[in-house]
């Protein structure tokens, strides 16, 4: 039974059930509760147990949960690092504050087919449908778990849930938590300090507040020079939850401000036709959310959520955005059928500046999305076979089509108590972003110098790609299947395979060459080059590209003993372009093969060792060779109040270039090996 909280709440309950501790599929049977330690029991959510019993291996999608414990044992302090624990995602650091994060064959700094949520609140930026990961820096101790779904979730979550859905779920304040002071260096060796406070509202709930300051040190470019990508961010947040009778209320707010450095690449008329400048983007923003859940009789429930988001950043391009989202949903069940319906309104307001490299034409300053969905689950044979049908309807004012239909159908078969087999077919779309419609991006690729075989002009030839007001949705038909099995008491396996057929993917069509600044065509007026510093090769975006991504992920959990466990996965994804492959634009590279092995060992109580080894295949499109990385983390819970965390990141290499930005506007940097120590004091 796929129980998923929808856009507003957006938690996939069943996933939590399946993998509640990602280790725990092996302990998912009810009676295994009795094998847990007291510490584990104290941290166990009652609802996750409720679900675990019935919904174990009942999801019809490829799901994975990163738990708080996983994060702690690996000494992880950032969301992107945590996401590296999940199979089927592709996480690469570009510079000290930029990341390429995607799922199943789609990634890049401007990856746009992944829906990222925090407590159901949408984190992506509508200007490019991607996420500014540099400001997704909630204190890691605030996070309860991260649920990752590979593959589309559009039928419930809507557009952008194309290749995957990530939902970051924060801990619900329960009034029983302790305060904490945390500080030291993070895994990259940069200093941070944070404080958490909490309190109770009599018996019915509690609150928690945090403040955190963090710096990131500058990395080196491949040239060996500092890339000036140092950064700093101050962040504070507040969460409260109250549980009264059949109602639950939750409120949260966070705000941040800081600076993100980078080496910005700008065109220059003299060889080598580019200069570097240190541009610090000033970032600030925050959000406020409120949520109300009401439990009705007989297990039905209703939920309403609102959120307001602000985000502001300066240079290289100034962007300001405000979003308001209101969600409602209702679920009920009868006669072996579960139903859920919901509706969403989202309003975005934009304001953008101009820059030499990118401009957003000012004719779009707002958009709105209205959406509704319904999903039903039907038990065809008790505890053995169930069918899920659902669809989302979405109207997006930026899309030329009035209404997008995103249906899904899936089937779950349980041949035995410890094995389940599932398959699904879905349609998902990525609706146009503001950038697709109105952006003008100059020098997305380095200028071709005069004399280059592809440049017939005596001036540098620069690319300029323009948005297209007629740009339409990118469409995916996804075919997926998987099997989960509890092979033995201690070992569980999960395999999922997929074929993703895309049409209408973003591509470009050349529209002409123009002398800069006169605007005359050198083909018509060859003399125009005389008064110019460069020639623009112009292209416009359209939807002519087709492709197919095929792949799968195999993951395993092995509980060796109470004190030792191993998790491993192998993920494969391969993209083959069909029609329009010559006109592909800005296709970011993806490693076809990735494998990760991680182990936790607690040699003595209170002291744990976490090891992570990762292999990432070469990424041809961005010229990155294959690499193997290893991290080591030691955690010592000295007593009830004090804990010490120390480790080494990137054990195997002095420095690693993990990825190159697919737009050549910034300098990608090498991540150095680093040693770190941080201290956690609870009070």
């Amino acid at each position: 039974m796929l129980r998923i909280e929808r856009p507003g709440g957006a938690v996939s309950a069943a996933i939590a059930a399946v993998l509640c501790a990602s280790w725990s599929s092996a302990q998912a049977q009810n009676d295994d509760l009795f094998d847990l330690s007291l510490e584990e029991l104290v941290n166990l959510s009652v609802t996750s147990v409720s679900r675990r019993e019935e919904a174990l291996s009942n999801t019809t999608s490829a799901a994975f949960v990163i738990t708080r414990e996983d994060i702690e044992r690996q000494g992880i302090r950032s969301i992107p690092d945590a996401l590296r624990l999940a199979p089927g995602l592709s996480v690469h650091q570009i510079d000290a504050n930029k990341w390429s994060i995607g799922a199943r064959g789609q990634t890049g700094r401007f990856a746009n087919k992944l829906l990222v949520l925090m407590d159901g609140r949408i984190l992506y930026t509508p200007t490019f449908s991607g996420v500014f990961w540099d400001v997704q820096t909630t204190l890691i101790e605030e996070i309860e778990r991260i649920e990752v779904i590979r593959g589309p979730g559009a039928a419930v979550w809507g557009s952008n849930a194309v290749n995957g859905v990530i939902n970051i779920i924060t801990r619900r304040p329960d009034g029983a938590e302790r305060g904490a002071v945390i500080g030291g260096t993070d895994p990259e060796g940069s200093p941070f300090g944070a404080m958490q406070l909490s309190g109770a509202f009599d018996q019915s709930g509690g609150w928690r507040a945090f403040a955190k300051y963090q710096e990131g040190k500058a990395n080196k470019a491949e040239s060996g020079a500092s890339a000036e990508d140092d950064w700093n961010l101050l962040r504070a947040g507040y969460r409260a939850a109250v549980d009264r009778d059949n109602n639950q209320f939750a409120f949260s707010a966070e705000a941040y401000a800081g600076e993100m450095g980078q080496n910005f690449v700008q065109f220059s008329a003299a060889p080598p036709f580019q200069t570097l400048s240190d541009v610090d983007s000033e970032v600030s923003g925050g959000f406020v959310t409120g949520e109300w859940t009401h439990r009705h009789q007989r297990g039905a429930s209703s939920k309403a959520q609102f959120s307001v988001d602000f985000a502001d950043r300066t240079g290289p391009i100034d962007l300001a955005q405000t979003s308001l989202t209101i969600d409602g949903q209702h679920q009920w069940s009868r006669d072996r059928q579960d139903w859920i319906v919901g509706a969403q309104v989202r309003l975005n307001d934009y304001d953008s500046g101009t820059s030499p490299a990118y401009n957003l034409l000012d004719d779009i300053d707002d958009d709105h999305i209205f959406a509704g969905f319904i999903q039903g689950e039907f038990e065809l044979a008790p505890n053995a076979l169930s069918l899920t049908l659902g669809t989302k309807l979405e109207h997006n004012s930026l899309s030329p089509k009035n209404i997008e239909v995103m249906p899904t159908a899936s089937l779950l078969w349980k041949p035995g108590p410890s094995t389940s087999v599932w398959t699904s077919v879905s349609r998902a779309v990525r609706t146009p972003a503001v950038g697709d419609l109105s952006a003008s991006v100059l020098d997305a690729q380095p200028a071709l110098p005069p004399g280059d075989p592809s440049n017939p002009f005596p001036l540098p030839l620069r690319s300029r790609v323009n948005g297209n007001p007629e740009f339409g949705p990118e469409t995916l038909y996804a075919y997926e299947a998987g099997i989960r099995s509890q092979v033995s008491e201690r070992v569980s396996l999960d395999f999922a395979g997929f074929v993703f057929d895309y049409s209408g993917l973003r591509s470009i069509t050349t529209t002409g060459v123009f002398c800069n600044p006169s605007g005359a065509s050198p083909l018509v007026d060859p003399l125009c080059v005389l008064g110019s510093d460069s020639v623009f090769a112009d292209a416009i975006l359209n939807n002519a590209l087709e492709s197919r991504i095929t792949g799968g992920e195999l993951s395993m959990n092995w509980i060796l003993s109470d004190r030792a466990r191993v998790a491993a996965f192998v993920a494969y994804a391969r993209e083959d372009f069909g029609a329009g492959s010559d006109d592909a634009f800005n296709v970011a590279g993806y490693p076809e093969l990735q494998a990760t092995l991680r182990a936790d060992w607690m040699p003595v109580t209170g002291f744990s060792v976490g090891v992570l080894v990762r292999y990432v295949d070469d990424i041809e499109a961005v010229s990155i060779p294959s690499l193997t990385q290893a991290n080591l983390n030691l955690r010592w819970q000295i007593n009830r109040d004090w804990a010490l965390n120390a480790g080494i990141r990137n054990l195997l290499e002095d420095r690693t270039l993990e990825y190159r930005s697919e737009l050549s506007d910034i300098v990608s940097t090498e991540i150095e090996r680093s040693a770190y120590v941080n201290v956690h004091f609870g009070f």
Binding site: F34, L38, Q331
Partner: protein, 184 residues
Amino acid sequence: MCANRVIGVLLGVLIGMLPAGAARANSPEDALKLAFTYNIARFVTWPEHADSGDARAFHMCVLGQAPYRIAIDNLGNRRVDNLPIEVINLEADQTEGVHCDLAYLSADAGDLSVVVEALLPTPVLTVSDAPGFANTGGIIELTRRNDRIAMRINVAASRRAGLTISSQLLSLATVVSDELEAGS
């Protein structure tokens, strides 16, 4: 996430393991509380267990039909203090002569004060999910703090029963005092 709980409840009812209205009968929350109880027992020292022979069993008495069934299913072949657990179905009105090392008293079973009083002279670890249990003579109260189970422990009551509770267990619990102690 608050809605998780809703969904949890929903599922519990939904999956139809039980006829409607008896949803609590196999509630995972009960199982969780019994798992707690079983674990707690490992952190408590009974005065007489030290010299007990192999023939003796650990008497775990359970008041309440649903938790009793869970205990029978899950604890029958486990051990506490290296003694095999014997699960005993405790009836509220028949505590006379029943020997318990541990008594799990379900809040659903009604007024527990009589039962506690009847058990008290022996070194019995009383555990219950009844609100205020630890303040009114009981030793360990399992309470729900939003989405988690928390423990409230009355150390004075455990001392009166002759039991020693390890500091490790106390560090995970809230220590409370009771009215009895205040009066004595």
